[in-house]
């Protein structure tokens, strides 16, 4: 498969590039291919939004990059960071990258801090792990700096996690990730558990990140609005594959893939007059449908979609997409463009 390289982002080398990354979970029914051949690049200071429905492999991809997969999960492919392939490193060396080079912010800030340890303990432990030579004062200074950037007063340094609100705890988690100044951060639905005002605040903080530290960010979310606000580029994920990626404005104004279009239409805004949703649910990843994985739910499915995997090609305005509607025409077999009938879809659904 041809790698999806974004040429438009910037001329500098990407901080992280994923090539044909796969992650699968072994179950008694067979392997669940949660991430199935995903490629992307993220430039320094760039934010890539990863959107998609629940269960399409977004979080698994984020964890796969960090090496935080549960036992029984396997990964494959290449993740290039700083000239080295993280996935083929010795586990010990890959572990050493965590925190200091690759950071992670999680979805549930309420349960991510150890309730028995003070905030100061969390910071001291984290900084000491990566900078054993620092004195106690230097550690404290760095921790307080990180807290101040997140708007948390130094007087709260010795407090316990339960003494903070949800939004503050998420800012603590961000501060804990930032204190090591990692080059790349995976933010897995960082605002999902928070109310809208706090959400706006966190989005603002993430926005400032890339400006102030040139931190690259993979922002996993199901909220298209956040992508529009906080991301440079967007990757739309469906059933373990990135079906479309490109600059946010391009993709949102001119979606090429029907799934992207349906996802955007399903977003609720002030202009929304009726609720739109995509019928059906994401496919079974143990035995995904043949051809394009979206074809059973696709309003514009053609005969070719049910038989042949779509080819990853460049979008007309930059970025990549994989959908037979976009092409390449010469690869579509004869008669392949006739619309897939509803009965055929129903049969496919039954099976």
């Amino acid at each position: 498969m041809e790698p999806a390289i974004s040429m438009e982002a910037s001329s500098t080398d990407p901080v992280i590039s994923a090539r044909d990354v796969r992650v699968w979970y072994g179950t008694t029914r067979g392997a669940i291919r949660a991430v199935d051949g995903v490629s992307f690049d993220i430039a320094p200071g760039e934010t890539l939004g990863l959107v998609g429905e629940s269960g399409c492999g977004k979080s698994t991809l984020g964890r796969g990059l960090m090496g935080l997969l549960p036992p029984g999960a396997k990964r494959d492919g290449e993740v290039w960071f700083d000239g080295k392939d993280v996935l083929s490193m010795r586990p010990k060396d890959a572990y050493r990258l965590r925190g200091v080079e690759l950071g992670m912010i999680f979805q549930e800030p309420l349960t991510r801090l150890n309730p028995l340890l003070r905030i100061s303990d969390h910071f001291e432990e984290t900084i000491k792990q990566h900078d054993p030579g620092l004195s106690k004062d230097e550690i404290k200074q760095r921790a307080l700096d990180a807290l101040r950037q997140m708007g948390i007063p130094p007087t709260r340094y010795r407090s316990y996690p339960h003494e903070f609100s949800g939004g503050m705890r998420q800012r603590l988690m961000i501060a804990l990730a930032l204190v090591l100044k990692p080059a790349f951060i995976v933010a897995d639905e960082p605002t999902t558990a928070l109310d809208v005002l706090v959400e706006a605040q966190i989005v603002q903080i993430l926005n400032d990140l890339r400006r102030n530290f040139r931190t690259s960010l993979l922002l996993i979310t199901h909220n298209v609005g956040i992508v529009a606000e906080a991301c440079d580029r967007v990757a739309v994920m469906y059933a373990g594959r990135i079906v479309e990626q490109g600059r946010v404005a391009d993709v949102f104004e001119n979606p090429q893939h029907p799934y992207t279009r349906e996802l955007l239409r399903s977003t609720i805004s002030l202009r929304t007059t009726g609720l739109n949703f995509i019928p059906g649910s994401p496919p079974d990843l143990v035995d995904p449908p043949d051809g394009c994985r979206f074809h059973p739910r696709c309003p514009e499915a053609m005969a070719v979609c049910a038989t042949k995997n779509p080819i990853n090609i460049e979008r007309p305005t930059g970025g990549r997409v994989e959908c037979w509607l976009v092409g390449p025409q010469e690869e579509i077999p004869e008669g392949g463009t006739r619309p897939l009938k509803q009965e055929e879809l129903a049969v496919a659904d039954e099976a």
Partner: protein, 346 residues
């Protein structure tokens, strides 16, 4: 959310200590009611058939059993407040003296059993939880179930039959005859707890003798509780190892050994401490059986004797002492818990 944030520990401890008073009052009341509701009375139970009705009634009046219940209740409470638990019926001893003379043996037995259970149970539980579904885990789990399920007297007999002989360990009593005799003659029993007294005396012969006597009974009782600890620690480790904060610590690159120690093990022990307090009641119950099996001169064995003699005053006194001990232990557990877990203090 003001200044008293993490500093409210002293206030919490004070509250908790004050709470002991109503708890003990409830226990005393319960003991009182249970003994009055039980059919018959101590006098006719002890002397019925030996004296005529008039004489029995005279004794009842003398002992206050004919007073109105509320009067008896008041007398009982006010004497307990003065630490007067009454005089036993069958052998005319002060209950407090019975407790003093025999409580020490029970104390050293339960203490030693507790230490054995902790030393065995917590490390085994940690290993089983950390290396889940491996051979050590399976072996430890089976061991835990067996020790918890096996009856005390059975384990006691097994140890007496197969361990005591080859190792030359005594199987009966808390100390050899000489030790008891000379300790008493030389006035060395200062604390009335033989275990402490021999250490205070500094005489290695006495110390060895007492420890040898202690080993098998303490092991018997300790194994029972250790099974509970193993399962409890294991389950909690499994939970904390999968907790969100452990994953978050791993994501920050904290080394695996530190994550296991500081985040998983430490947090897993919090619920264990709470249950340890509850297990203390089981320990006292087990002590009664262990003492009978090993002819241990403790409070449990005296309790069995007094129950056989239908000596209600003695039973009431000893049960009250046991209950108060459980209350005090749970106070201690709560304070330790508050020291470890900041969330408890609110």
């Amino acid at each position: 959310m003001t200044g008293s944030r993490s500093g409210s520990l002293p206030r919490y401890i004070l509250q908790r200590v004050l709470l002991v008073i109503p708890m003990i009052w409830v226990i005393l009341t319960l003991v009182f009611i249970v003994l009055r509701v039980a059919p018959g009375d101590p006098v006719s139970a002890a002397l019925g058939g030996k004296l005529n009705d008039e004489a029995l009634d005279q004794r009842r009046t003398a002992l206050g059993f004919n007073d109105p219940l509320i009067q008896q209740y008041w007398d009982y409470l006010s004497s307990v407040v003065r630490l007067d638990f009454g005089t036993t019926f069958s052998d005319n001893q002060k209950v407090l003296e019975v407790v003093r003379d025999n409580g020490g043996a029970t104390l050293s037995l339960t203490l030693a059993a507790f230490v054995i259970a902790l030393l065995l149970g917590i490390p085994l539980g940690l290993v089983a939880g950390r290396y889940r579904d491996t051979v050590p885990d399976v072996v430890i789990r089976v061991f835990g179930i067996l020790t918890y399920a096996a009856p005390i007297f059975f384990v006691g007999f097994l140890l007496q039959a197969y361990v005591a002989k080859p190792l030359g360990l005594p199987t009966s009593g808390a100390a050899g005859v000489e030790t008891v005799f000379y300790m008493e003659r030389d006035g060395l029993n200062k604390t009335h707890v033989l275990l402490f007294d021999v250490f205070l005396s500094g005489n290695s012969y006495y110390i060895e003798d007492v420890l040898k006597h202690l080993l098998l009974p303490a092991l018997t009782l300790g194994l029972l509780i250790c099974g509970v600890f193993i399962r409890l620690v294991r389950v909690n480790i499994l939970q904390t190892m999968q907790s969100d904060y452990v994953e978050a610590a791993e994501a920050r690159g904290i080394s695996t050994s530190k994550v296991t120690r500081r985040h998983a093990f430490r947090n897993a022990l919090v619920p264990v401490i709470t249950v340890i307090g509850l297990q203390f009641a089981l320990l006292l119950g087990g002590a009664v059986l262990t003492e009978s099996t090993f002819n241990w001169p403790g409070l449990g064995q005296r309790l069995v004797e007094y129950i056989n003699d239908r000596d209600y005053v003695a039973v009431q006194g000893i049960v009250t002492v046991f209950a108060i001990a459980v209350v005090l232990i749970s106070l201690l557990v709560d304070i330790v818990n508050a020291l470890i877990d900041p969330r408890v203090r609110y």
